[in-house]
């Protein structure tokens, strides 16, 4: 199978280029394995990967124009020649490795942890099954960054718009019955940029490898904001 990969070393190259490799495929082979074969041919080729089973979120990349995790993308599903590029909109460190600092800063900005005003109890804080169910479809996010780097609003304003991944987590804690900072969280999200740059383009939903729905979560935040405002 012919695979073209993005190559760029900012210390050495003046501009990026695409390099073609022929990879012998095996039944059930995933793209990550093909990239490992390419690295065996050229050890200077750089890409992140770790768990190999869609849990760690390390190997997010853009394949034939769509963001995905290489470790759970079967080669059999891809059209030749396979074009593998880094996640869009992020500064390239080397080849497929991008700088995700801004993505993590946006994640940090939504305070992705429980905030309690009452003193913490000695034991765990119980939830009803219904309260726990509200977290389904939210807590599963592995922060691979496929969604935010597929979002045009995040491309244009990565320093100001939180992006779908961070906003999904913002809703995850707003929806949590144990959290006690709803008003503060909503106040922090108002303004034209942090939340309201989302125009429901839904690229995030289309590419999420865990099949989560950040657009729906963002809609819930807007509804809650409205509910608290009237």
């Amino acid at each position: 199978m012919k695979i073209r990969v993005y190559r760029f070393n900012p210390e050495r190259d003046t501009k990026p280029r695409m390099q073609s490799f022929e990879v012998a495929t095996r039944p059930g082979m995933m793209l990550r394995e093909a990239l490992l074969d390419i690295r065996a041919l050229d050890e200077s080729f750089g890409f992140r990967h770790s768990c190999g089973e869609g849990v760690c979120g390390s190997d997010g990349m853009n394949v034939n124009g769509v963001n995905c995790l290489a470790c759970i993308t079967p080669l059999a599903d891809l059209t030749e020649p396979v074009e593998v590029r880094p996640l869009p909109g992020r500064p390239v460190i080397r080849d497929l490795i991008v700088d995700m600092s801004q993505f993590y800063l946006q994640y940090k900005a939504v305070q992705p942890y429980l905030i309690r005003k009452e003193p913490l109890p000695e034991q765990e804080i119980p939830q009803t099954p219904a309260e726990r169910d509200r977290l389904d479809g939210l807590y599963e996010c592995i922060l691979c960054g496929c969604c935010s780097t597929a979002c045009p609003s995040f491309w244009w304003n990565p320093d100001k718009f939180h992006g779908p991944a961070a906003l999904l987590q913002a809703w995850r804690f707003l929806a949590d019955s144990r959290d006690q900072a709803t008003d503060e969280r909503l106040d922090a999200l108002d303004g034209p940029y942090k939340l309201f740059r989302c125009h429901s383009i839904m690229n995030c939903v289309a590419v999420c490898p865990k099949e989560l729905n950040p657009t729906k979560a963002i809609g819930h935040i807007k509804e809650l904001m409205l509910e608290k405002a009237v």
């Binding site: 108002d190 740059r197 125009h199």
Partner: protein
């Protein structure tokens, strides 16, 4: 637009105005396609009819507000230099305001013509 109006308020203005624009816009389109006025006098009489005039006087500012929020969104996304953004925003604000004043006076003139001595020409 105040800082508060920048996020939630702009969003809700856009959503609510969209509902009215779809409903009244559909009425305007259906009326003009299936029962177009035969003459200018008939058109003026239709515009000046109390319910249509009221509908238009509500439609015009809501349409302009909706357009303002949309244009503002596009400019916030694409125009980064502060001075250029303020300049382009001001241009569209004046354009929309001017269009609104012109459209509202047209409805009011139609009302005045209907209640006046009659339409000539």
């Amino acid at each position: 637009m105040s800082r508060q109006a920048a996020g939630l308020k702009a969003w809700i203005i856009q959503r609510l105005s969209a509902v009215y624009i779809v409903l009244f816009g559909s009425y305007l389109a259906i009326q003009l396609v299936f029962a177009p006025p035969a003459s200018q006098a008939e058109f003026v009489a239709w515009v000046a009819a109390p319910l249509v005039a009221l509908g238009l006087l509500l439609y015009i500012p809501l349409l302009l507000l909706h357009a303002w929020v949309g244009i503002r969104d596009v400019l916030i996304d694409y125009i980064k230099p502060y001075e250029l953004r303020v300049g382009v925003l001001s241009f569209f604000a004046l354009l929309l305001l001017g269009s609104g004043v012109w459209a509202i006076q047209a409805v009011l003139v139609a009302r005045a013509m209907l209640s006046g001595p009659g339409i000539t020409g």
